[in-house]
């Protein structure tokens, strides 16, 4: 466990060290981070120029969700997407062999190698916007809501990791489709706004079939804490943990299945 953490911190350290070589990129990307969040804000401004609340969600509610959405988008791009892209590249180029030669668990190694530090701006900006929205709504940040939010975000991370890893594993069979990640971004697009805007059948699909709600609306609702925003009520964190555990187990099994098939082990 300690060794795992040491390895992870090493990869992060190396990534940070090399930022200096790409200063121009860093500046541009930081600016773009601000541009993106501003675009979200302009969108919300436009929406609430035309109405005061949509099914109970006011501008501040929307703000909290927008912040969470940005945090998730930034978080994914910080440490999940780069690793899965590298996995797919390794499968295509045959360099996955080098991963398999190492005396470290292949799934672990494949999940921590890449780290895009500057995406932290998205996470920070998103968090700031969310907290601002929260404060505007309740004037305080209640402790229980924060704890609940934290658990839900953690669960969301695990769910997202599992989803993305599975997309990467598909590369063992569909070698050329490396923009399979577009499937994710397309579905993720639907989480940009609270799922209350959708008709019930879509809402259910986005909660139980594709757990998009667990990644966006539910954590936001938990942070807000008031009753009507809480999708699935106060048991949401427990359900989320359950969903996270199941998806992690499934993704791990799928990854190992892919590796066994890759190395020609009889199934």
């Amino acid at each position: 466990m300690i060794r795992a953490l040491r390895l992870l911190s090493l990869y992060i350290r190396v990534s940070v060290q090399n930022l200096a070589a790409y200063r121009f990129d860093l500046i541009i990307r930081t600016i773009m981070s601000f541009v993106h969040i501003s675009a979200e804000l302009v969108g919300i401004w436009t929406i609430f120029h035309n109405t005061t609340n949509i099914r109970g969600w006011t501008a501040w509610h929307f703000l909290v969700l927008a912040g969470v959405y940005r945090m998730v988008a930034g978080g994914i791009r910080m440490f999940i997407v780069p690793n899965v892209r590298k996995l797919m590249e390794d499968i295509r180029n045959g360099t996955l062999d080098f991963v398999l030669l190492k005396p470290v668990n292949a799934q672990f190694l494949v999940s921590i190698r890449e780290f895009v530090v500057w995406r932290i701006t998205d996470v920070v900006l998103g968090l700031a916007v969310s907290l601002f929205g929260c404060w505007k709504l309740t004037n305080t940040i209640p402790l229980q809501a924060t704890a609940s939010f934290f658990v839900l975000m953690l669960a969301a991370c695990v769910i997202l990791y599992s989803l993305w890893l599975s997309l990467g594993v598909l590369c063992f069979w569909f070698v050329r489709i490396d923009n399979i990640e577009m499937v994710f971004w397309n579905v993720f697009e639907a989480g940009r706004y609270p799922i209350v805007i959708y008709p019930p059948w879509v809402r259910n699909m986005l909660t139980y079939v594709i757990p998009l709600a667990f990644i966006t609306t539910i954590p936001a609702g938990a942070l807000i804490g008031d009753d009507q925003s809480l999708i699935l009520g106060r048991t949401a964190p427990l359900i989320a943990i359950g969903v996270a555990a199941v998806s992690f187990a499934a993704a791990t099994w799928f990854f190992n299945f892919g590796i066994r098939r890759y190395s020609g082990a009889s199934a």
Partner: protein, 376 residues
């Protein structure tokens, strides 16, 4: 303790061979392969529009036997060369021995482990270098990749430093350590790849085409390095290469593989004896000669102006030479062994012409498949 009689006496390591957690007696081979096989199911597809459409509905598969009941053993600190044309099964065999592939038949034991179980203890003691692929991080300086490697292999700090210093000195890596791998020349990159694969002091080293694409001078340097490393540390090395020079410079023992079967396993010098017992006579004439039937003396390899090359069976080389010397105005005459590429090339040609032949019998001695060579 004497090594088995059939093995040529190769220089023992100056330091005792590495002994792992399982203390292996010296008489037991470090690598033991028995009837190892690997077949692949490959989708068949002809070109053209209709076959493409058809393949969407019904896939046709073909079984390809990449490695066919291969057997051999390797002693500690040996350097063995694997030779064979593309697709012969060399890389597949190496991948099975390093644990990357599961065989479809047979067994193999390396350092007491079954490779494809991929036990961490096993992986800690081996290393594989693939000349066609890079394991270094592209955008980082080589030094960073070394650091990561040390952490992954849990190399203690002091050992890492001393190993790194030694390798950097031997490979002359000092100027390139801080440069991004992307900016290095192929030769420099290859040296870094070699360095990183040795950082954890593996007992067994699998080198898959380590000098491919590298310029001649660098090839020689890399060869010298491998030789020195084997002498110093007693690492067992299995090497595949297209360059005969790699094999002749480094390996006393070679294994020739084609179509997944071992054609020859033994000393390099014996290879030409068994596979092509011929000599090449090169004649330099002092005057133009016409009407001389060279073809009656032997196989004419080339005839340009006053230089003729003849290929004759070993046994008759002396007789033919005497004849030529008395018949012709000879300025210079040399008798040579055919180039090793020729020998091996012909072995493969004959193999495919002679049809399938049973594989070499599992033993440590020099062997030759019955169908190869054809002539004795």
């Amino acid at each position: 303790m004497t090594p088995p009689a059939t093995h040529r006496g190769h220089p023992r390591a100056h330091s005792p061979p590495p002994i792992g957690p399982d203390n292996m007696p010296l008489s037991m081979p470090q690598i033991a392969v028995n009837q190892l096989s690997k077949s692949f199911k490959v989708a068949e597809r002809e070109g053209g529009f209709m076959p493409a459409v058809r393949s969407v509905f019904r896939r046709k598969y073909k079984q390809v036997q990449a490695v066919d009941a291969v057997s051999f053993t390797v002693e500690p600190a040996e350097i063995v060369g694997f030779l064979g044309p593309n697709g012969a099964g060399k890389t597949t065999t190496l991948k099975m021995l390093s644990g990357l592939l599961h065989p479809t038949g047979g067994t193999a034991t390396v350092l007491g482990h079954t490779p494809w179980r991929r036990e961490a203890a096993y992986l800690q003691r081996i290393s594989m270098l693939m000349g066609q692929r890079s394991q270094l991080a592209w955008d980082l300086p080589a030094m960073d990749s070394f650091m990561v490697h040390a952490a992954v292999y849990r190399i203690p700090a002091a050992q890492y430093k001393s190993t790194l210093d030694e390798l950097v000195a031997l490979l002359e890596l000092e100027p390139v350590l801080k440069k991004q791998v992307r900016t290095l020349s192929l030769g420099e990159r290859m040296k870094c790849e070699i360095c990183v694969s040795l950082l954890h002091r593996p007992s067994v080293l699998f080198l898959d085409e380590p000098t491919i694409g590298v310029d001649i001078t660098m090839q020689a340097r890399i060869r010298e390095f491998i030789r020195a490393y084997n002498r110093e540390h007693g690492a067992t090395i299995i090497l595949t290469s297209h360059y005969m020079a790699d094999v002749t410079a480094l390996c006393k023992r070679i294994i020739v593989i084609d179509h997944g079967r071992i054609l020859f396993d033994g000393e390099l010098e014996r290879l030409s004896d068994r596979l092509a017992p011929f000599k090449v006579i090169k004649i330099d004439l002092s005057a133009d000669v016409t009407n001389y039937d060279f073809a009656a003396r032997g196989e004419v390899l080339s005839s340009t102006g006053r230089k003729v090359e003849l290929r004759v069976p070993k046994g008759s080389a002396a007789a033919v030479t005497t004849r030529l010397l008395s018949d012709l105005p000879v300025l210079d005459l040399t008798i040579e062994d055919p180039p090793i590429e020729d020998v091996i090339g012909r072995a493969f040609l004959d193999k495919s012409a002679a049809g399938s032949a049973p594989a070499a019998s599992p033993s440590n001695s020099d062997t030759v498949a019955a169908g190869a060579g054809g002539r004795t």
